[in-house]
């Protein structure tokens, strides 16, 4: 396959998941978490992967991140197979334990730049830029223990963006926040995405969140052997008006798709 030529094409697939499967083998037998998962992520899109708990959506993200290896199929980034974590895929974790307690907010954001050997001054300036982007100007000297849950997630987003990855992988990043903070952060994330046009793979179990953020929503079938059930384009302008009829209509479509999965899960 002429990968280079393909990349120059119009609808560039940044990430390709091709028949990806993941089976865990343990003492209690085998567990098929993901089965035959196929998806192309285009450069610049915001893709929400929606599914009930235990459907394997986080496993999909972990495999794209390179934290886990598929047991079937393959994953390509820019045409190259993914086999380990790398700086080209920034991850925002659900829990904020991933922040470094011993570093200030600003040093957390500049961590990836430090790994690359960027000088202190340049690193600081860049970290300040992303601190401002996530709306935390003036909070850079604080440590994670002094920040609220929402602020910590903002720092995580800034840290991932400062490293300028090819794609941002977000694993239910607002799942542990209260509803108000979550709504605010969803709005902020939409704004940041519009500013940076970074490709995003966003995992969630929240239908409204998916409809509010995504340019496409992928609905997953319930596990074991979780796989992609349908992909729905969300062709609504940003910022999205959640009480509008158009939004409601998308919401209903997605809800109808996931309804069986929710009820099957009980």
């Amino acid at each position: 396959m002429n990968v280079r030529g393909y990349e120059r094409g119009f609808n560039v697939a940044l990430v390709t998941l091709d028949g990806v499967g993941k089976t865990y083998r343990g003492r209690t037998g085998a567990w098929e978490a993901v089965r035959d998962f196929t998806l192309d992520l285009a450069e610049g899109e915001f893709f929400c992967l929606l599914g009930t708990s235990g459907c394997g959506k986080t496993t999909v993200l972990n495999m794209v991140a390179g934290f886990e290896q598929p047991t079937a199929g393959r994953i390509l980034l820019d045409g190259r197979p993914v086999d380990r974590p790398g700086a080209d895929r920034g991850v925002v974790f659900q829990g904020h334990d991933s922040l470094y307690d011993w570093l200030t907010a600003l040093d957390n954001i500049g961590f990836g730049l430090r790994l690359r050997g960027m000088g202190r001054g340049e690193r600081r300036a860049k970290a300040e830029h992303y601190l401002k982007m996530v709306g935390l100007t003036g909070q850079g000297a604080k440590h994670p223990s002094e920040l609220s849950g929402g602020m910590k997630q903002r720092i995580q987003i800034a840290r991932a963006l400062a490293n300028d990855p090819r794609i941002l992988l977000m694993d239910e990043p607002f799942g542990a926040l209260d509803a108000m903070t979550r709504a605010v952060l969803q709005g902020e994330l939409s704004r940041i995405w519009a500013e940076t046009r970074k490709t995003v793979l966003f995992i969630t179990h929240d239908i409204e969140e998916a409809c509010a953020l995504a340019t496409r929503v992928g609905v997953m079938k319930r596990g074991p052997g979780g796989t992609l059930k349908a992909v729905i384009p969300v062709d609504l302008p940003f910022p999205r008006e959640r009480t509008s009829d158009a939004f409601m209509s998308v919401f209903r479509d997605v809800h109808a798709l996931i309804h069986d999965e929710i009820h099957g899960a009980h």
Binding site: G66, G90, S98, W102, L115
Partner: protein
């Protein structure tokens, strides 16, 4: 903000003083009303005796002798324990090989090693330093290794997807995340060191607080015994507070409980 911190500190200090005051009061009442024996002197004569010993420079001599041994052995034990603990926590083969050692030796208390230490090193400084190092090293190894094992998975993953090499993950994530565990291990080891030094000096020494206790018993200088006991308590308390202060200063921002 700053003034509330200061007030909090003042309250803490006041609490400590009140606590010690109460302890001395109970001691005084117990000695003067309950026991009334020359074998249990009240705090007054003991403090008087302490003052005499301080004026003669005797008490300081003993305290410094003991503290020097503790300091040397403690530093030696930590200097060995930290890297070994890091290696055990980081590399499986090292763990398989060295864990039997730590699990074996930590059940042989330093007090039981006194005889061997004296046979090997005599009753000079070396035997004491060896015993303190011995009692320090395993506690530090175990808590350091536990600290490495407790580094959050997401912390390591985050570094990996920010482009960290294995060495960078160790140096910039695993190591700083382990610091509170190392310091906590050292704090525990320090209290072990106090137990060990007294036992070692009781058995074989020419000076130090343990030797002071022993001599006082031989010559029935009951006040001297109590002076040594109070000095030990005070030293231990001061050392532990210092350690806690250091842990807070270096690791207060960590989420580990200190």
């Amino acid at each position: 903000m700053r003034s509330t911190v200061r007030t909090e500190r003042l309250v803490t200090v006041a609490g400590y003083l009140a606590g010690f005051g109460l302890l001395f009061l109970i001691w005084h009442l117990a000695a003067t009303t309950l026991v009334r024996s020359t074998l249990f002197p009240p705090p007054g004569p003991v403090l008087e005796r302490a003052w005499v010993l301080i004026e003669d420079g005797i008490l300081q001599e003993q305290v410094i002798a003991s503290l020097k041994r503790i300091g040397q052995g403690f530093l030696l034990g930590s200097a060995i324990g930290i890297p070994v603990g890091l290696a055990i926590g980081s590399f499986k083969p090292v763990r398989w090989m060295l864990e039997p050692w730590t699990e074996f030796f930590r059940f042989i208390p330093a007090v039981a090693m006194i005889t061997v230490a004296v046979i090997w090193f005599g009753i000079g400084e070396e035997s004491k330093v060896f015993l303190i190092a011995y009692t320090t090293v395993f506690v530090v190894i175990i808590s350091t290794a536990a600290g490495v094992g407790a580094v959050g998975r997401d912390k390591i993953r985050a570094a990996q997807c920010l482009g960290a090499t294995r060495l960078q993950v160790f140096r910039l994530v695993a190591l700083p995340a382990t610091v509170p565990y190392i310091l906590t291990g050292m704090r525990l080891a320090m209290s072990n060191a106090f137990v060990t030094i007294v036992a070692a000096e009781l058995v074989a020494s020419n000076d130090g607080l343990g030797k002071m206790l022993w001599d006082a018993r031989l010559f029935m200088q009951i006040e001297d015994i109590f002076v040594a006991l109070v000095a030990l308590g005070m030293l231990g308390f001061a050392t532990d507070r210092t350690f806690r202060f250091l842990i807070r200063a270096f690791a207060g921002r960590f989420n580990a409980t200190v």
